[in-house]
């Protein structure tokens, strides 16, 4: 027997040797570029090979099987070639047509894009890496129809964008649910190099599985994993330069002086009295000194922006290895990002500025003062990220996954006057550019002491930036996931079980030092110094920030089978458990926030033609009272692939068309901080002291808000209809979606309740109702001219408009005064009706607020209720809300051989920016801008675009009341992103270990066209006081090497 076996093996071997045919060739893409690493397998066997660096392969065919070669490569369509009778087979692979076999990540699974019936959009890793931003949230701008991004700050480490999916539909948080690899995690600081794709789930069908948390839409971020094949090492290095995208230059000292004088005279005050002119002199002679700068200590002209800003820089490195074999697949990545700020904190640099050089020249004491302290107050942000995604195949049926990610970040910034505040945006760092007139004070006094103006002692930028200490924040984020996948085909064919457990910890600490020199105001009249702020001795502090623990578990049963080759059935049933806790600080903080859910989804399609899907999320949350904790969120969707029908001609300009529609309900429980609204509270009240000594202050105790046992989540009923089509050999893509959402039971703090009852407050109740509707269009073209030139264009247009139907607004005497009926965040104010041109006009117009000191050049408001008096009752909805209703983008690109270029324009419309206070008004703190030049004066009455100047602008003066005069159209169009790249020809790399080398340059926020001018149009209106870090413009260069 043994002999026979041996013999037969030998025979076989001999047979094989004899019968083997050798086939060789080259695999290329359509442009003729050789493809490295393409798989060639003889069909039906394990016999295969991989193309080498020249795209060449050679394979001994097994003659027992047909000589059919299967050639495949990620991103290309797999082809079969019959090698019968050939020894050289050259294969051209077509790039995969997006949408045919492409798989998209959906909630708790993946689906073929062609058969998706919900509204889901996704962005791949390539597009995310085109944009040189620190936070990947900013790379999503303009990529996805219906995703509104708002970048409100440019602070290193704090510049991530706020995301709104299909605008806003809740009076509470409209933040979408963000999941990284299926677990709720922040993705704003994930290294874009680690991200495989980002999916945005928009409609009820796509989000119902997230039940109570899905109503605001869901962002699914999937990180990269290894795949079978040779190890691939990729290294990326980038260097970028950052500038403030917008920073408003104020007018110079002489102009400021002239304007201040005009405003002082306008209100009938004597400009020769210092206190009437923001405490700086405004005579002709003073103007002469401002102009000539002959006396910079008494008549300075500081250009703070010029002195205290600089270009920032950023560097990014990523090194990753991926690959795998039958047993193990891996993706391991290490990334480092560092960015420094655009404020100049280095005294050695500041002193080089001519303004300070002049002071040094005049006073040696100034020279002695201007030295760097021994700490670093610079703005910077460092981020070290690492990730290791490992897949283990234990047996044929059992697979395990171990994912770990660790992120360490460090933020540094100057100290603050308010102690070591944790409010990073609350610094006055940006405000001081606006809160000082250029002549308010010299930066230093002749005796070398720090200077400031009387009454605005805290505003010297030199002190703020370089002489106030520093604060450093450290943050650690650890994310681990263990997953298991068990194929239950033994039990039932097509059935699998998978589970996941993740444990994330976020912890950090900060340290800081605060000190301050004495600050004086110099009085040139008698040479005396008035002390404004006393010094603060160095004082250090540090603390741990409360750690957050997140636990997540998931178990799923999946079933997938095709019957009769036409009935495709798949189903998923899941159970999930989420627990979040921050057991330090705050009421109830140690009680974890727990969610439980049972989730089910069923898909059925007939011949990939008629598609049906049902989704259900049955959720529970411990935010609510027993009996109100669980709810079922159902959704259903259908799809019809018209092009699959037999009546459609085979050869048509329409290559693919799918109609789809969905309806369902989703919930939102982001109701503010975690509170047991369903119980009345008895909480600490105010302290009251008795007795002749008052030693025994006892804190009072009050009934808190009244309970609302009915508290549960808000419900969104969503409708969506759309189509996906491809035309002209799939070169043209045209997709559209139309949606409508009715959000009810929005938990709202009732503004109206009976005060006579004497209660201290009521719990929020299910009062709010918001409607949200809109549409999204996406049109794309991908084409090729001859062999080497490819190009594409893609346009996105989206509209989402919401309307508050009910929100228990405080009572108003007139209907038009209500915000209800308008979008969330609608501005309310008076309506501008021109400037008064004469006293006669003032006398003939409705009496404005009972004021008797109006003069020509003041703002006239409309009398909405026609009662002959302008008062609080003449306020109405004005302008739009701060979040735009329309967003659009246009992406263009082309490639020729190794060169490629892509450009993205992005814009938004129908939003308003409320420009008041520091940034809007004349002389809010002593400053004027360009737009104030065309103010009202008797001479310019006909063409004036700004009211007459006042001695000082003040919200209590009628010109500065909230009105649409101060609302600026927030429309903008941006050259958001541009990228130019060049990949070295393969031929050059032939004799190196390198497989791929690419050089590129890209830019972010390069050009902006808008009407806001002084700040970025995405700025938050609350930041009018300048207490934020302006957004940045980035120019970046990089190289990517793969070997």
């Amino acid at each position: 027997m043994k002999k026979i076996i041996l013999l037969s093996i030998f025979a076989c071997y001999a047979l094989l040797t004899v019968a083997q045919t050798r086939v060789g060739g080259v695999v290329m893409d359509e442009s003729g570029t050789e493809i490295i690493g393409a798989n060639i397998i003889q069909k039906g066997t394990l016999n295969g090979t991989v193309t080498d660096i020249d795209g060449k392969f050679a394979l001994q065919l097994d003659d027992k099987n047909p000589p059919l070669l299967q050639v495949s490569m990620i991103g290309y369509q797999t082809v079969e070639v019959d090698a019968q009778g050939q020894t050289t087979v050259n294969v051209t692979l077509k790039e995969m047509n997006v949408g045919i076999d492409e798989v998209v990540v959906v909630g708790f699974g993946t689906q073929k894009k062609a058969s998706v019936t919900g509204s889901i959009a996704n962005v791949g890793s390539k597009e995310l890496k085109d944009v040189p931003v620190a936070s990947v949230t900013n790379a999503l701008t303009g990529r996805i129809p219906g995703l509104v991004t708002r970048q409100e700050s440019g602070r290193p480490g704090g510049d991530d964008a706020k995301l709104f999916i299909r605008g806003r539909a809740s009076l509470n948080s409209s933040d979408p649910l963000v999941l990284v690899d299926g677990v709720e995690r922040s993705f704003s600081q994930v290294d874009p190099d680690d991200i495989e794709s980002v999916s945005i789930l928009k409609d009820a069908s796509a989000t119902a599985v997230y039940g109570v948390r899905g109503a605001n839409g869901v962002v699914l971020v999937t990180t990269k994993r290894g795949s079978t094949g040779k190890s691939k090492i990729s290294f990326t290095s980038e260097y970028g330069v950052t500038h403030f995208n917008r920073i408003s230059n104020v007018l110079g000292a002489e102009q400021t002086s002239l304007f201040q004088r005009e405003g002082t005279i306008n209100v009938g005050l004597d400009p020769s009295v210092l206190s009437n002119t923001s405490n700086f002199p405004v005579s002709e002679y003073d103007n002469y000194l401002y102009r000539t700068q002959l006396s910079p200590f008494t008549h300075p002209d500081n250009n703070f922006v010029d002195i205290f800003t600089k270009p920032g820089s950023q560097q990014k490195y990523n090194f990753n290895i991926s690959g795998g074999n039958k047993a193990v697949k891996y993706f391991v990545s290490v990334g480092y990002f560092t960015q420094d700020g655009m404020f100049q904190t280095d005294v050695n640099q500041i002193r080089k500025h001519p303004t300070l050089q002049r002071l040094i020249e005049l006073s040696p004491e100034v020279d002695k003062t201007l030295v760097n302290k021994d700490y670093n107050p610079e703005y910077f942000y460092n981020r070290l990220t690492s990730r290791s995604n490992i897949d283990l195949t234990i047996t044929e049926d059992l697979k395990l996954g171990i994912d770990m990610a660790y992120r360490f970040s460090r933020q540094n910034r100057p100290g603050t006057y308010d102690g070591l505040s944790s409010n990073a945006e609350g610094l006055r760092l940006f405000a001081f550019f606006y809160r000082n007139a250029p002549q308010a004070f010299p930066l230093l006094n002749p005796n070398g002491s720090m200077a400031a103006a009387v009454g605005v002692w805290r505003q010297n930028p030199l002190v703020t930036l370089a002489y106030t200490g520093f604060r450093t924040d450290y943050d650690n984020q650890m994310e681990t996931t263990f997953s298991v996948n068990y194929n239950l085909h033994k039990l039932l064919k097509g059935l699998t079980f998978d589970g996941k457990f993740s444990y994330d910890v976020d912890w950090g600490n900060w340290r800081g030092m605060q000190w301050r020199p004495y600050i004086y105001s110099y009085n040139p009249a008698d040479g005396s110094y008035l002390q404004g702020l006393g010094a603060v001795l160095p004082e250090t502090n540090s603390a741990r920030t409360a750690p957050t623990y997140n636990k997540y578990g998931e178990a799923a049963l999946r079933y997938k089978k095709t019957f009769d080759k036409k009935h495709n059935v798949s189903a998923v049933a899941l159970a999930t458990y989420t627990s979040e806790s921050t057991p330090v600080g705050g009421e109830y903080s140690y009680v974890p926030h727990i969610y439980q859910a049972l989730i089910a989804r069923g898909n059925y399609d007939f011949k990939n033609r008629y598609l049906f899907e049902i989704n259900m999320g049955y959720n529970g949350s411990n935010r609510f009272a027993e009996g109100h904790r669980y709810q079922l969120f159902p959704a259903a969707s259908v799809g019809w692939v018209i092009t699959g029908e037999s009546f459609m001609p085979q050869e048509s300009i329409l290559n693919f068309a799918k109609l789809r529609a969905s309806v369902g309900q989703v919930g939102n429980d982001k109701l503010g901080s975690f509170s047991y609204y369903y119980k009345s509270t008895y909480v600490n009240g105010a302290a009251y002291s008795f007795g002749s000594t008052h030693n025994s202050r006892i804190t009072g105790l009050i009934e808190g808000r009244m309970a609302n046992e009915m508290i549960t989540w808000e419900t969104a009923t969503k409708y969506n209809a759309g189509f996906d089509t491809k035309w002209f050999n799939s070169q043209l893509t045209f997709n559209a979606d139309i949606f409508k959402e009715h959000r009810t039971d929005i938990l709202t703090n009732p503004q109206r309740f009976m005060v006579t009852s004497g209660i201290n407050g009521v719990s929020p109740a299910h009062i709010g109702v918001v409607d949200n509707q809109g549409y999204e269009l996406e049109l794309g073209w991908e084409g090729k001219v001859r062999k080497n030139f490819t190009y594409f264009a893609k346009a996105i247009f989206a509209n989402a408009k919401n309307k508050v139907v009910e929100m228990s607004e405080a009572a108003k005497p007139y209907r038009y005064m209500y915000s209800t009926g308008h979008p969330i965040g609608q501005f309310i104010g008076y309506q501008f009706d021109g400037f008064f041109s004469s006293y006669e006009e003032i006398a003939a117009s409705p009496q404005q607020f009972g004021l008797s000191n109006l003069a020509p050049g003041d703002i006239k408001y409309k009398d909405l209720n026609n009662d002959g008096v302008i008062d609080q009752n003449d306020q109405s909805a004005i302008g739009y809300s701060p979040v735009p209703e329309i967003t659009y983008s246009l992406q263009l690109g082309c490639g020729y051989k190794g060169f490629d270029i892509s450009v993205m324009f992005q814009g938004a419309a129908r939003s308003s920016v409320y420009m008041v206070g520091d940034l809007g008004w004349d002389n809010s703190w002593g400053n004027y801008y360009d737009n104030h030049i065309n103010r009202w004066t008797p001479e310019t009455a006909a063409t004036a675009t700004y009211p007459r100047f006042q001695q000082k602008s003040d919200g209590n003066n009628q010109n500065y009341y909230a009105s649409d005069f101060w609302l600026i159209n927030g429309d903008y169009l941006r050259l958001k992103n541009i990228q130019v790249g060049y990949s070295l020809p393969k031929a050059l790399l032939r004799n190196t270990p390198l497989q791929f080398v690419r050089f590129y340059a890209n830019a972010f926020n390069l050009l902006t066209w808008d009407k806001v001018k002084r700040v970025d149009p995405e700025s938050n209106p609350d930041r009018n006081n300048g207490q934020f870090y302006p957004q940045q413009r980035i120019m970046n260069f990089g190289v990517n090497v793969t070997f």
Partner: protein
């Protein structure tokens, strides 16, 4: 098969586990009334809380005293909402001044305490059950007095108001049906509350001196007395009034006189309230300046206590001696002119340079003028021109005076901000003090019986009461303030002016002018003084500080908040709003 069973069992177990209720974790620190009112350390906290709804008057309305909305004062901060009030720029949804919210919160808290004191069983360490009951009844009495105070505040703002005397759950249909009770019923209710309080409370507070500030019998009596004076005042006794919400409907001369008589009797009960040792409970403090920074003192009856502080000095000092503020509320020239001469004769403008000498002894401690002494802080100057300081007229926006005067009253001039750790001092805000009661007594006695009569034998005539106040103020025997007074009308004018000076900036004039129906005084510009120094000479001139002062007749009563009107259709708004 065996595999299948294993797998199935595991799956079922897993899903069963996953389906278990993990949602029942509860916060540990939920305190409910049964925990609070039975705990030794806690039961007094809700009691104390009720006191926090009492109003202090130091810069209460956006950096201003309420008196800045009268002819006495002006706020230096241009952004203060007090200007809207003084210029009649108020509506029912933005009334600036009102007490609907705070009063009803206070009333509910008091009812909450009374309900739970009654219902919860309290056991105290080393106390017998009787002693515990005694403590409970005193606290219940304090709650009656506080409810009376809150209701009095409602009464003088709005007239009749919905009387809430039960602890309601929100949504109780009975609560939803509440309407305003008649003015008369409200007065009676306050009187009843005060009587109940007086029954439970002693002359001295529970806890002795350590409880100074807790409601006592005298406080309840004082609230009652003041309520009855308001009840008798012209605003609520308008002839021919048929609206029972805004005042009495029976305004016959006899009934008004009877009201004054009741008021006089109630005032007398306070003035002659005795301590257990037989001496008077309330005594005028011998130093008018130090009265306001002395704690305890025997003149304050109802007052808002506070821990020691120096915030008031920082706010009200002239800028040169303030830490980083100044100004705040400042007196007007009209107020300065209202001070008599030191012999009690009325002041007539003459030599401007001499107007700050030879005046009412209180003048120097109430008003900071050009050259005024701030005790240990030295002199301050409001003059402009040569040698002007930051205290000069309009020198610093929002911080320097805009009338030429500073308010010196209430301040402890020992507070020195030029040292590292400035001292602090007591600032108790007087809500009712003996001088107030004496002047109310004088007003009631005069209206009921005339300036010199004491038919009921209270031992004090109207004139006597006024003179007692003036004597404490420092007037000597040559005081001729009342000597020429013979008629009730003359006497009333003297009482009114005395209230204006003695109780200046204590939130009295705002309400006094209303109850006397002298709104026209609020309908006139207020003026200030400019003193300019040039070449050693001082030039005096007067100017209008605020020419937009306005008073509408509807402002005699305050508007019920619009929100409340909308949510409770049963409520009837005050006339004109």
């Amino acid at each position: 098969m065996k595999d299948k069973v294993k797998i199935l069992t595991a799956l079922v177990a897993f899903f069963f586990f996953a389906g278990c209720g993990y949602l029942d974790e509860k916060p540990y620190d939920w305190a409910q009334p049964e925990d609070i009112f039975t705990a030794e350390n806690n039961y007094v906290r809700p009691v104390n809380q009720t006191y926090t709804y009492m109003k202090g008057g130091f810069n209460r309305i956006s950096s201003a005293f309420l008196d800045a909305a009268t002819d006495d004062g002006m706020c230096t901060v241009s952004g203060s909402s007090i200007h809207r009030l003084s210029r009649a720029f108020v509506t029912s949804n933005s009334a600036v001044e009102g007490c609907w919210d705070s009063s009803y919160k206070g009333i509910r808290q008091a009812l909450f305490v009374q309900k739970n004191l009654k219902e919860q069983k309290l056991v105290l360490n080393k106390k017998t059950e009787e002693e515990v009951e005694q403590i409970k009844s005193v606290y219940a009495g304090e709650m009656y007095a506080l409810r009376a105070l809150f209701e009095f505040d409602l009464l003088r703002h709005y007239g009749g108001y919905p009387i809430i005397d039960t602890y309601y759950v929100l949504g109780d249909p009975e609560l939803d049906k509440k309407t305003r009770d008649s003015f008369e019923a409200c007065v009676q209710n306050i009187v009843n509350l005060c009587d109940s309080a007086a029954k439970y409370l002693d002359v001295e507070p529970l806890g002795g001196n350590g409880a100074y500030g807790r409601m006592t019998k005298g406080m309840a009596l004082a609230i009652k007395a003041k309520t009855l004076v308001y009840s008798a005042s012209p605003l609520f006794n308008q002839p021919g009034n048929s609206n029972s919400l805004i005042g009495h409907t029976n305004t016959s001369e006899a009934s008004v006189t009877a009201r004054w008589e009741a008021a006089a009797e109630a005032c007398d009960a306070v003035i002659n309230l005795k301590k257990p040792n037989g001496s008077n409970k309330y005594v005028l403090y011998n130093n008018y300046e130090k009265l306001f920074v002395t704690c305890p003192n025997d003149e304050y009856i109802v007052f808002n206590t506070a821990a020691k502080s120096n915030g008031l000095e920082n706010r009200q000092y002239p800028p040169t001696i303030s830490k980083n503020s100044g100004g705040g509320t400042v007196p007007t020239q009209e107020f300065v002119d209202a001070f008599t001469l030191s012999n009690g004769a009325g002041y007539m403008r003459g030599d401007d340079s001499k107007q700050y000498t030879g005046r009412d002894p209180r003048f120097n401690v109430i008003v900071g003028y050009n050259g005024a002494s701030y005790g240990a802080r030295g002199k301050i100057f409001t003059k402009t021109g040569d040698g002007a300081t930051l205290d000069a007229l309009n020198a610093l926006v929002d911080k320097s005076t805009n009338t030429g005067y500073y308010l010196r009253k209430f301040l402890d001039t020992n507070v020195n901000f030029s040292v590292a750790n400035p001292t602090t001092t007591f600032h108790l805000f007087p809500i009712i003090r003996l001088a107030d009661i004496l002047l109310l007594y004088a007003e009631a006695m005069n209206a009921a019986y005339g300036p010199d009569a004491d038919p009921k034998g209270y031992g004090l005539t109207a004139k006597g009461a006024v003179q007692r106040v003036r004597t404490r103020a420092g007037f000597k025997s040559d005081d001729q303030y009342l000597t020429s007074v013979t008629t009730q009308e003359q006497m009333l004018e003297k009482i009114k002016n005395e209230r204006r000076i003695e109780l200046a900036f204590e939130e009295q004039r705002y309400f006094d002018l209303r109850r006397w129906m002298e709104g026209d005084k609020l309908n006139q510009p207020v003026t200030g003084i400019r003193i300019e120094e040039a070449a050693g000479n001082l030039n005096y001139s007067y100017f209008v500080v605020d020419g937009q002062r306005k008073f509408d007749p509807k402002m005699y009563l305050h508007p019920i908040p619009l929100d409340e009107m909308k949510i409770s259709p049963n409520l009837v708004q005050n006339p004109g709003w």
